[in-house]
């Protein structure tokens, strides 16, 4: 890959271990962005929806993975299948709504019809294919791998990649322990196109000391070290989690118009506690005692990301309890909650500054406590492995021996 053109020479390389800084071109370079699609998103298991969104036979959701349009549909036997949402005839979009219920899928253009199992069951003017060798059995919707864990539906575009449970590794049983006996159900969905690189929003959720940004956490003391115990767990394939079970933020929240959370707790939670799970490359699960939020990042351009936010409660629960959960979600992490708008504003402010190239190196050097940058370093180690580029030197510009002994200490 050619080096990006630069008008300004970079600043001095940080006198830190290389693992402790990031070359910001990994966020801004168009070539790297294109390569992420091939080397990461086309290889890993990608979240597409929650199983409750396609609860009955024939119910479907559309999704985009690595830029490819997909449709995910519940089968008559309860299984879930996923297909490229592209007609095998002349490549028109088959399913044109984001969700719904179908007995079959008919392409609107020339009316080829597919079963919900993807088989081509009807073609227009079939007599015209007589003698051409055309066989409907060869032209079903292209299927992609699909699997579920803890009610979350994932697809993988690669036939070579490991099974889902293997990809999630030690994170898998941790996620399963939060599932209520009756299962989760999505009660809220919204999305936004934000003007930043997708990895910057992942980072925002992965490190804890950006909580200083939020007035609500500063003012309630929940930003302090005493309220958030240590205990990040880093697992293979770049995933990590931090079960803040028992983290205390109760009482003080009433002063800022937020509810106490002591009832209708999700499994594994204590009153007024939070938990956080970050799944490489693009999925963030955060919970606050009563509500689970799932953030899903969909890269559009180096500086443009679609984020889907889902909030989940317990399937089939009493409407009064559900109303409470909806309120809790909206108070903190919803569209107009006390934190989410600030997280978006912060991450949107980074990208255009990075894109100028005036300051190349980003510092992720904190160690040793709740506010460590270790989650970011762990994440980018996996990013580097998959991209075959280090995050501190993505273009291989450092000559051998150029880094000081101190700098290579941590490699």
């Amino acid at each position: 890959m050619e080096l990006p053109l630069e008008a300004v020479a970079p600043e001095k390389v940080p006198n830190l271990p290389p693992s402790h800084f990031v070359d910001t071109r990994i966020y801004t370079d168009a070539g790297i962005f294109a390569e992420e699609r091939v080397k990461i998103f086309a290889k890993v298991w990608n979240f597409v929806c929650h199983e409750s969104e396609i609860a009955s036979a024939g119910s479907f959701r559309t999704a985009t993975v690595a830029g490819y349009p997909l449709v995910v549909v519940r089968q008559n036997d309860g299984e879930i299948k996923a297909f490229y949402n592209i007609c095998r005839h002349r490549q028109a979009q088959v399913v044109r709504t984001c969700s719904g219920q179908a007995k079959s899928f008919q392409c609107f253009y020339h009316l080829w019809t597919y079963g919900i199992d993807g088989r081509l069951v009807g073609v227009t003017l079939p007599e015209g294919y007589a003698g051409t060798g055309f066989d409907k059995a060869d032209y079903g919707l292209r299927e992609v791998r699909v699997d579920q864990l803890a009610g979350m539906v994932f697809v993988c575009l690669s036939d070579e990649s490991e099974p889902l449970r293997e990809f999630l590794g030690e994170a898998a049983p941790v996620l399963e322990r939060y599932v209520p006996p009756d299962g989760f159900e999505v009660f809220h969905f919204h999305q936004a196109e934000i003007k930043t690189n997708w990895k910057l929003f992942f980072e925002n959720n992965s490190e804890r000391y950006h909580q200083a940004l939020h007035w609500v956490t500063r003012s309630t003391g929940t930003w302090g070290k005493t309220s958030l115990p240590d205990g990040w767990t880093f697992t293979r394939n770049g995933h990590n989690y931090k079960p803040f079970e028992g983290a205390r933020y109760g009482g003080v929240h009433a002063n800022v118009g937020l509810d106490e959370r002591r009832e209708h707790m999700l499994p594994g939670h204590k009153p007024n506690s939070t938990a956080s799970h970050h799944l490489f490359p693009d999925l963030l699960l955060v919970s606050q005692t009563t509500v689970l939020r799932i953030d899903h990042l969909i890269p559009l351009e180096p500086g443009r990301t679609l984020i889907e936010w889902r909030a989940l409660g317990v399937k089939g629960e009493d409407p009064a309890v559900r109303a409470k959960r909806i309120k809790h979600h909206n108070q903190y992490w919803g569209y107009g909650g006390v934190q989410l708008p600030e997280d978006i504003t912060a991450t949107e402010s980074q990208w255009p500054m990075m894109a100028t190239g005036a300051v190349r190196y980003s510092v992720i050097a904190r160690e040793g406590d709740t506010f460590s940058d270790e989650p970011l370093r762990h994440y980018y180690t996996e990013w580097s492995r998959r991209m075959a580029r280090s995050y501190w030197d993505p273009f291989g510009e450092f000559a051998a021996g150029e880094l000081s002994a101190r700098q290579i200490r941590k490699i």
Partner: protein, 159 residues
């Protein structure tokens, strides 16, 4: 209640509340905006979620006390620096003595520091108003967003 078309004066008075609400949000006069709501008022903002099969997908729900609390705390938050302009149109009003039902459409524009303007959100207001001591107040404001893919978020109500 039997609602009917309002008198000219009543229509003027209720339209004035709607326009004041929009202007107060334009000017970030958040507590003045909250004063337009009755003490027993309810405020809600929601999407009709296509993704979740047309459910009412609430994103803000406040009673009057919560509304005032949020408005008081707004200056503390890191707020989008863009200027927002709130416009109201297509106003329809029906009245039954001291109660009124009102629907309207809204648009919110966002102008960045560099002067670029974009259309931020559109939707409709479904309002119930009540007249107390000669003054009209919102008793319930239901803001239904047509726009479901948003840009930068905000702590502020959109209408």
């Amino acid at each position: 209640m039997a609602f009917s078309r309002p008198s000219y004066e009543t229509r003027q008075a209720i339209e004035e509340i709607l326009l004041k609400a929009a202007t107060f949000l334009d000017e970030k006069r958040f507590l003045d905006w909250a004063d337009l709501f009755a003490d027993d008022a309810q405020y809600e903002m929601l999407f009709k979620s296509k993704e979740l099969r047309d459910i009412d997908d609430y994103v803000m729900q406040f009673n009057k006390e919560e509304l005032v609390s949020r408005m008081k705390l707004l200056p503390n938050y890191v707020i989008d620096t863009a200027k927002r302009l709130h416009a109201v149109s297509n106003i329809r009003i029906e009245v039954d003595e001291n109660n009124a039902a009102c629907t309207s459409r809204f648009t919110v524009y966002r102008t960045l520091e560099d002067g670029t303007t974009s259309l931020y959100a559109v939707g409709s207001n479904d309002d119930a108003l009540v007249q107390r001591a000669g003054q009209w107040f919102f008793l319930k404001r239901r803001v239904v967003l047509d726009t479901r893919k948003l840009e930068t978020h905000t702590h502020m109500p959109l209408q």
